[in-house]
Amino acid sequence: MIILIADRLSPWGHGLTRALTARGVDWGLWSLKEWMRSAWCITLNEGIPVRARADLMRLDSAHACCAIIGACPWGQVGIASFDGRDDAYYRHAWMSVWMVIQTMGVPMFNPIDLNGVGLQWQGVLTHAVRLGFLCVGLDMRFSLCAAARAFERAWFYFYTQHHIDFETILRLWAHHVPQGGQWVCVHRLEDRYYVSAQTTQGPVWYHLSRDVIHNVLAVLDHVQSRLGMALLYVLDQVYFIACTPRGHWHLCWADDRSVQNAFVSHLVQLPDTALSLYPGPAQVPRGLTIPSEFRPIISCVM
């Protein structure tokens, strides 16, 4: 079974569910809140592979999980949306479950951004520069911080609230790049990639050299993005503008259906993992198992 996690499906998430249904693939959609009201048990016993069990509400029979896909708009699967509770202890406890799932080999696409690396443009861009890309504002070195903050805000609002559209994003960056170049999107899907360029008539196919593609994929690897998109600006050299660890092929791809089909074909081939899913009742939110008196704020050994 393919698990989709979203409080509200993104446009490409909707397309994906339709394509999965058409291919006869079992899939289920749970919100992050529902996910955290399930019973979980992950067991480590040396010499035996780690196994996990989740008792999920609204499940009719037992399944093995093949993959987990974050299918919300950008930012919605962030830590901040954890059941409306902002308690660091509670939040970190749940994050540790996600980290174990990642460790035990369950394929996760668009995972919850555990460490905020998706928003750490400075780190991403530094890595891109090491690989030979130009980056906006890098000649000013640390003024990159200021530029990055503006980008971060624009990107964040774009994906969380759709305050601005993709064209506006490009216009925002256009102030920082020389005139006459071409906006290029590279979508990555595991080992495959798809390149499109933005034109006034919409997206069209585009060709990038093997070296450039290799380096784009290396940056996406750096942010552990198996499914993602990089935005480039190509003039006589290539600028690495930004990347996101999720698919946005409906926005800027000339033939989004072919990318989606490739993704679904990939999902269909995924084997069962050690994460088993069983029907279970929703847990009623309660207090904490480890009370605050067992969680001293006073300094102690770590």
Binding site: A39, W94, M95, Q122, T126, E152, L288, I290, S299
Partner: protein, 296 residues
């Protein structure tokens, strides 16, 4: 007192690689301890208070500016960093953004950082880390990370699933009416002596702790003694530290009749506590020596 001394010591520090930087909370006892040790040597030390980020402490193109205290620290003057910045901020506030900038600087720009943020994340999830630690000469205890299920029965302990602090107790102390909404880590109890091993630059400093409580940190009668590790255990500790990409680690072991069990690798170890208990400063001296060698 320390803060004032540190700040007035460097009102405008721009000389390349001339400063040792401490990063974290002002009331962190480990940082206070480290600051004292560093100030006993001759180097310049500046403390970046995590709580002041984006409020009084602003990151500019060329360095850190403390608005209230009036000092400036150039990025290029940072020669080494002792990092105890533990909690990541999310959101779009200035403070959260400043912390991300700091994380970037610690990860990719500043030299000689103990430890870099990415390596420090390895014990964010105790069970995920244990999975990484499996398969060495050190045994890993049977562990269950669960929520919404009955705890395992028998001689088990429970603790926080993440790197958030909790006092370790026997499962029998759990209030059955309180099985709550957060994932908790349960581990089969291993009876034996606790041994804390600090690894730095390929050397191990080990302390054996004899205590009657499950969690020796909260046992008033606990006895701490310097000890020597068997060669293969020492090598395993050094190897694991290297494998996790850490320069400094604090490894929790238990020696029992069944051999050596590893509980956790602390990526930001509170080594000061052990030095106070054993009355020796071998590790802090090594750290001070390292930092002194890093600055011009």
């Amino acid at each position: 007192m320390i803060q004032r001394t540190l700040c007035t010591q460097s009102p405008r520090t721009t000389r390349a690689r001339s400063v040792i930087v401490l990063v974290g909370l002002l009331d962190d006892p480990v940082l206070v301890y480290m600051a004292r040790r560093l100030m006993e040597s001759s180097g310049s030390v500046v403390w970046l208070d995590q709580r002041a980020l984006g409020v009084d402490l602003i990151c500019t193109a060329s360095g850190w500016q403390h608005l209230r205290q009036g000092w400036f620290l150039a990025h290029q003057s940072v020669g080494a960093v002792y990092n105890r910045c533990m909690h990541v901020c999310w959101g779009l506030s200035v403070a959260a953004f400043s912390q991300r900038i700091l994380t970037y600087l610690l990860e990719s720009v500043y030299p000689n950082v103990i430890n870099r943020p990415s390596t420090g994340a390895s014990n964010f999830s105790k069970l995920a880390q244990l999975i990484q630690l499996s398969g060495t000469v050190l045994r890993v205890p049977e562990s269950v990370l669960s929520v919404g299920c009955m705890p395992p029965s028998g001689d088990w302990v429970f603790k926080s699933a993440s790197n958030q602090r909790s006092v370790v107790h026997a499962v029998s102390r759990l209030d059955q009416a309180r099985y709550g909404a957060e994932p908790v880590l349960y581990q089969q109890r291993v009876q034996g002596d606790n041994v804390r091993v600090h690894v730095f630059q390929g050397r191990c400093e080990a302390v054996r702790i004899e205590a009657v409580s499950v969690d020796y940190r909260y046992c008033a009668d606990a006895v701490f003694r310097v000890c020597t590790l068997p060669k293969q255990i020492e090598q395993a500790c050094v190897k694991l530290t290297h494998q996790l990409g850490l320069m400094l680690s604090g490894i929790d072991l238990i020696e029992s009749d069944q051999g050596w069990t590893i509980l956790e690798v602390n990526t930001s170890p509170g080594f000061d506590y052990f030095e106070r208990r054993i009355g020796q400063r071998r590790l802090s001296r090594a750290l001070v020596r390292y930092f002194s060698d890093c600055i011009d």
